[in-house]
Symmetry: C2
Subunit: 223 residues, 2 copies
């Protein structure tokens, strides 16, 4: 069976978990703590990052969330997530990169540093200025989602795609850490509620990160 090396609040592992579940692929989780960087994990991935997806019996090791999603797309017929014409697929990949890179750099990564790493590893208080700036930038990204959803049924066009799952994966981690304020973002909020109600999302939303309390409404598709 496939084994996914990850931790509960890794947004890139969440993207892969959603893609695996949408495609109906069975997998089990292997816990890695990003701050530990064990030799065994570096032997698996020299970059030292989650996610890593392995099939030990078939001796397949896949690294990097986007490389993994492209592999699943190329090898599994069910539920295409990078779909449509070449231009449509480019639009999906543009938005995946926007959330994987820019949203992560500006929102998810500072939230993870301030509210996870400092609490669990560094044992120091979060920096309120960094948190405020991350939340300000989150509003800009939610504005952009509002605009997309005003113009399209799903983020990348007429059909649900990997862009929706990449965005929802980042937002869900920021939301767990208290970084998302939906006020003024009705379109984005309605879209995210639909994402939360998907069966593929339930296992993620029901999972807890030890030592970090789950905020009210986080796992509720109606909230």
């Amino acid at each position: 069976m496939w084994q996914l090396h990850c931790f509960p609040l890794c947004p890139f592992s969440r993207k892969v978990r959603l893609a695996l579940a949408e495609k109906g692929i069975q997998f089990e989780l292997q816990r890695e703590n990003p701050w530990e960087g064990t030799d065994a994990f570096y032997a698996l991935n020299p970059a030292g990052r989650t996610p890593v997806l392995r099939e030990p019996d078939k001796r397949i090791t896949l690294i990097d969330s986007q490389a993994i999603c492209e592999y699943l797309e190329e090898t599994v017929d069910k539920s295409p997530l990078i779909l449509g014409t070449a231009a449509g697929r480019a639009e999906i990949r543009r938005l995946v990169a926007l959330f994987d890179e820019q949203f992560f750099d500006e929102v998810t990564h500072p939230m993870l540093n301030e509210r996870m790493k400092k609490r669990l590893v560094l044992r120091s208080p979060p920096d309120s200025k960094t948190l405020r700036e991350a939340m300000r930038l989150a509003h800009e990204h939610l504005d952009y989602i509002d605009w997309l959803i005003d113009n399209r049924r799903w983020l990348a066009g007429a059909q649900m795609s990997l862009a929706d799952f990449a965005a929802a994966a980042q937002i869900s981690v920021a939301d767990y850490l208290g970084g998302i304020d939906w006020s003024g973002h009705e379109e984005a909020h309605a879209w995210y509620r639909v994402m939360k109600s998907r069966p593929s999302f339930r296992p993620l939303l029901n999972e807890k990160m030890e030592g970090i309390p789950v905020p009210a409404g986080y796992a509720d598709p109606n909230s």
Copy 2:
């Protein structure tokens, strides 16, 4: 004709330029300065980043270097760069991400900040501690290339691929900015000399960034 919005030292634009040239696609350059962030450029790409590849007559706008390369791969027969089996393609994409993300974050980006942005925009001296750390991490990446080339003909396997061009694009920018020391990296150096000697690489190496002198040997395939 395709128009590529970029600046001479953008490593992601260099990756796209190499892919375009290898595939024999004609294009012209449109200069964007990353520190200007003009309204016109943000209207083109809300993320405000180079490269953007456009075909105005066909109304195609492609954003994000990897989305662009995947599009070229899907639409142009000549010179496949993401090639082989699904597992082989995953390995190519893993290495592309390693250089686009980790090498960029650890080496190219700090070098660009210290030796380009501070010189041309901020008018402040570079921070020597940041430069030393970037060069130390560059050695770790070159060690990894040495190891790959010890085990494979090209970075991702038996054939030249986008992994080689992504790595060479990042290295060429760091090299322009004085961040690459080849001593102790014979295998990586031999591989990079071969990359430099490709016709697709010549226009990049002959281009100058105003205000930043080209170091000796930078453009010489024998050096």
